[in-house]
Amino acid sequence: MHTNFNLNFHHKINFEVFHDRAPVTVDINLNGSLIQSKTYTPGLVHKEKLIFDREVLDGAKNTIQFIFTGEQESSKKYLKIKNISVQQYKVNVMKNYYTPIINKEWWNTLTDSKKKYYKDVIYINNNGIFGWYGISEYEYYSGIDKASRYLCDAAAEDRLLTMTPRFVYNDPATITLPWDKDEN
């Protein structure tokens, strides 16, 4: 339930999972609490729509974390985050923090230009498609209204970097820009 300082936010996540020959597991956490853990059978494209409500704090940073694991390596596997929305606000699926588990021996065989290519893929150029096992994270800030944004300590890192923190406010009617709103 809403109080002055706690908010109950509605989350929707569309994602896809695939491995050609072995089962894989995707754990989804919000702020360190497990929301869903599911193992997927190989050889099928699994399309998932996860909907959940969770309490978040006013003026807080929230992290949605995906942990993609499996016993067997394959180049034909992926976790694809297609869409994330919170209170109908779109969370940019391309803005993620991805920590893949990479075989160092393989990495050391790459040329500098190939390493640059893969760093681009890891850090920015992935379109929410994660081909290595590992952890990918999305962040948003929660607030009752826009007054919560001013002096929000949790958003200081973004401000240091001149970035605009992605705030999600309680009332979806505050979404004035068409590209902020999730129409799905």
């Binding site: 002055n4 779109k90 940019n92 699926v93 391309m94 803005k95 923090y97 991805y98 920590t99 760093k119 681009d120 890891i122 850090y123 920015i124 150029n125 379109n127 929410g128 994270e137 009752i144 826009k146 007054a147 944004r149 001013y150 002096l151 200081a156 890192e157 401000r159 240091l160 970097l161 001149t162 970035m163 605009t164 992605r166 004035t176 820009l177 068409p178 590209w179 902020d180």
Partner: protein
């Protein structure tokens, strides 16, 4: 060094150009550092190339002195985890004719940003420019009422791009990155000019993301002409399409969907009335804009600022014109 700005399209002679500061990584969560270090490295390279491009047009380019921005800022009223990097000089200054103003930001981490640029302001002052500094806001948490607006109205606050100068007028945005006292502070400085407040429901935040005057009578915007005040009656409008078709991956240059009032194509930088610098992303996502510019016989030069969408900053954010031809 001469300070003289009357509009955003006369021949550019000198400007500030932002930079990154790697010491900021010390204030960032460990899990993000590798990615951000990579982005800062790439950005630094892009900025250095941008400097060369500007110089090829005969523009003198001034860069910030790099300080240790991981040092916390401690005042009697607040404490920060570090200081903002000097990537976006236009956020922190407003130049009107030969007056350079260090503006007061709503961002507490921005309070000493002028120090990065002190060599420039000292030199400008010694060469006859007026040099003003707005009072630094207290940012006192105990003053904030939960029912306040986005930026409480205790001290004057206004980011530089909340104002847009066009000869005898200054367009104003009072919401998003400014408060009423901020716009009032500016009114009292520039009593001889007409300050026009734009509709706050439409023009919120930094105005260079909303509009760009290319020549007298020609304006770029993603808004409808009906949203503009009487001043723009009979002007010609070039429309920038605000929506990317979807948040789709195109290549490494386009990795988000321009949220938060930012339509970065508006933030293209005019070298003069015939030449405009546009970020290379425009080649891929908005052909209408480029065709319109060509129709108006503008020379387009592309500038690589690959991570502009990551930062949410365009070319006019990372540069601050200091001198344009009278």
């Amino acid at each position: 060094m001469k300070i003289r700005i009357k509009n955003n399209y006369e021949q550019l002679h000198s400007c500030m150009l932002g930079d990154v500061d790697f010491s900021v990584l010390g204030s960032i969560s460990k899990n993000k550092r590798e990615k951000l270090k990579y982005i800062l490295e790439q950005t630094q390279e892009d900025l250095n190339n941008y400097k060369t491009q500007l110089e090829s047009y005969g523009v003198d380019v001034y860069r910030p002195k790099i300080l240790d921005c991981s040092k916390p800022v401690v005042t009697p009223y607040y404490e920060t985890i570090g200081h903002r990097i000097p990537l976006t000089p236009s956020d922190s200054f407003f130049i009107n004719n030969n007056t350079i103003i260090e503006t007061a930001s709503w961002t507490p981490e921005n309070v000493f940003i002028g120090m990065y640029w002190r060599d420039v302001t000292r030199q400008a002052f010694s060469n006859g420019a007026n040099w003003l500094n707005m009072p630094p806001p207290l940012h006192a948490k105990n003053e904030i009422d939960p029912m306040d607006d986005e930026i409480p109205n205790f001290d004057p606050i206004i980011d530089g791009p909340c104002m847009y100068l066009h000869d005898d007028i200054i367009l104003l945005s009072e919401q998003g990155a400014a408060n009423q006292l901020g716009t009032e502070w500016m009114r009292r400085q520039f009593k001889d000019q007409t300050l026009i407040e734009l509709n706050p429901k439409i023009f919120k935040g930094h105005l260079d993301s909303h509009l760009n005057i290319l020549r007298p009578g020609l304006i770029v915007t993603w808004h409808s002409p009906d949203d503009f005040p009487e001043y723009f009656k009979n002007w010609e409008f070039i429309k920038v399409e605000p929506l990317h078709p979807k948040s789709e991956f195109i290549d490494s240059k386009i990795q988000d969907d321009d949220y938060s009032n930012t339509v970065l194509l508006c933030n293209s930088l005019s070298v003069n009335q015939d030449t405009i610098l546009v970020e290379t992303t425009a080649k891929y996502n908005n052909n209408t804009f480029l065709k319109e510019l060509e129709k108006h016989k503008m020379n387009i030069e592309f500038v690589k600022f690959e991570w502009e969408h990551f930062f949410g900053n365009g070319l006019t954010c990372i540069t601050l014109p200091l001198h344009r031809e009278d």
